[in-house]
């Protein structure tokens, strides 16, 4: 055992060395990079020159008051705003160094790489099994063995398998809200995306279901880059590694969650997270 690994009373002495940087910073590998992003809804500017980098296989949370642009920014990442009339965008978003707004990008392919889960669970009015298998079926996969395998793996990944394994052929709309939300997450991970976008995934759920979703997010970050928008600041503090505070369409502060919630750099951030008049 080397000195750094020596443990005393369960405490890793090596990790207490002040000169060692926290692991989070060492492992910061950019997955998504946003450059000078402006967004206008019918000429009205909703995002102002947003610049930030989101790390791979970490959880990044967006917080901010209603209308600050956090959901708008999240929706840019898989080009959901393309569907909104009158939207114009300036700037770039790079996913693995490729501009997602480039003309050569196939939007359907982009959304396979960047999955999304919304505030209200939206399962299809189909069986639990078919909900999860849906993404593969539209890709033309019909092999029962493959489908069985992916459905089980995805449901396990979404911490739902044990609850539904005996009723896979029941209608998904008969599940509870929390189960439906985890089913939607299973559906998203069935097609093995790189990034999962979560837009207020737990705001319609009770505290226990919320904790299950938070636990799930913690497990999923080993494999996926996760970006979450939440109104619940304590949730952001609990689940995320990095937090971005947005206000009136601008990114005010972005940093490690532990630092941002104990000693924020900007007064606006402090006022918001401590519930003061801004």
């Amino acid at each position: 055992m080397t000195t750094a690994q020596t443990r005393t009373h369960g405490i890793n002495i090596g990790a207490l060395n002040r000169d060692e940087k926290p692991q989070q910073i060492e492992n910061f590998e950019t997955c998504i990079k946003i450059e000078d992003l402006d967004l206008f809804y019918s000429g009205k500017q909703a995002l102002h020159k947003v610049n930030m980098e989101m790390p791979r296989k970490k959880v990044t949370a967006y917080i901010g008051p209603s209308g600050c642009g956090k959901s708008t920014l999240l929706r840019c990442i898989n080009r959901m705003n393309d569907l909104v009339d009158g939207v114009s965008i300036r700037g770039r978003i790079l996913l693995d160094n490729e501009d997602i707004f480039d003309k050569s990008v196939n939007v359907a392919a982009l959304r396979r790489r960047v999955g999304m889960v919304f505030q209200k669970p939206n399962p299809f009015p189909k069986t639990i099994y078919e909900n999860v298998a849906y993404g593969l079926r539209i890709q033309g996969v019909n092999d029962r063995h493959i489908l069985d395998e992916v459905v089980e793996k995805s449901l396990r990944g979404a911490a739902l398998w044990d609850e539904v394994k005996n009723r896979l052929n029941e209608n998904a709309l008969g599940m509870s809200g929390g189960q439906q939300q985890r089913l939607v997450i299973a559906r998203a991970i069935a097609i093995e995306p790189e990034v999962i976008l979560l837009d207020e995934p737990a705001s319609a759920l009770d505290p226990i279901s919320t904790l299950k979703i938070e636990e799930l997010i913690n497990e999923l970050k080993d494999q996926y880059t996760i970006v979450i928008v939440t109104h619940n600041m304590q949730q952001a503090a609990r689940v995320s590694d990095y937090t971005a505070f947005m206000y009136m369409g601008e990114l005010i502060e972005f940093g490690e969650t532990s630092e941002l919630f104990t000693n924020p750099a900007k007064k606006q951030t402090e006022d918001y997270i401590t519930g003061r008049y801004g």
């Binding site: 000693n263 750099a265 402090e270």
Partner: protein, 239 residues
Amino acid sequence: MDNNKIKQHISRQFNEEMEEIRNKVLAMGGLVEQQVDLATKAFMSYDMESAETVVQQDQLVNELEKDIDHECTEIMARRQPAAFDLRMLIATIKIITDLERIGDEAARIARMTMRLEGSDYYQDKYYEIEHLLELVKDMLNGALDAYARTDVDEVVEITGQDAKVDREYTSITRQLITQMMENPRNITRALDMLWTARALERIGDHSCNVCEHVIYMVKGKDVRHVSREELEQTVKTGR
């Protein structure tokens, strides 16, 4: 730094709770300041009545410590405070531990005084002890003032006084040793004197701790166990 920081929450109830905690800490601080002053003077002048008051006040200080601790815990559970609010509560919990120990030191001097009842009165004038008392009272007062105003501008000066306190303590020790060697009949009184000086020196240390907690509260940087230069730098530049 904004002096009214704790009054700016959207929730008025939250403002009131934080304000109440601050007021109670200051009340507790005022009480221990009084204890320190009264106990030392009681010891110097064989004033049994004052010594007894100090011992009785210690109960009150202990109750306040438990009370403030409880209120801080409750706010954390109910409001999940962040940033300055969180740091203020954490700092408060630590500050009241130091204040309670200062109270204990004062009570120790007072109890020692009470044991002197009926013994011969020594006509000794130890200006050094009085000087030491003034120094640590000054430090304690400054530390509490910094907490009340959430302002660390003068904190560096206060922590700097600790060196003076240590010098004074060393010099008192030396004098007392000389006295004991000169006349063994002085030993009992000299030892009591030494314990009193020691208690005052500890009170200076606790006041320094309070200053460090106030720096954490205001600047968000932990300055315990750092060099004096680093402490000064944090006060000057930290946010």
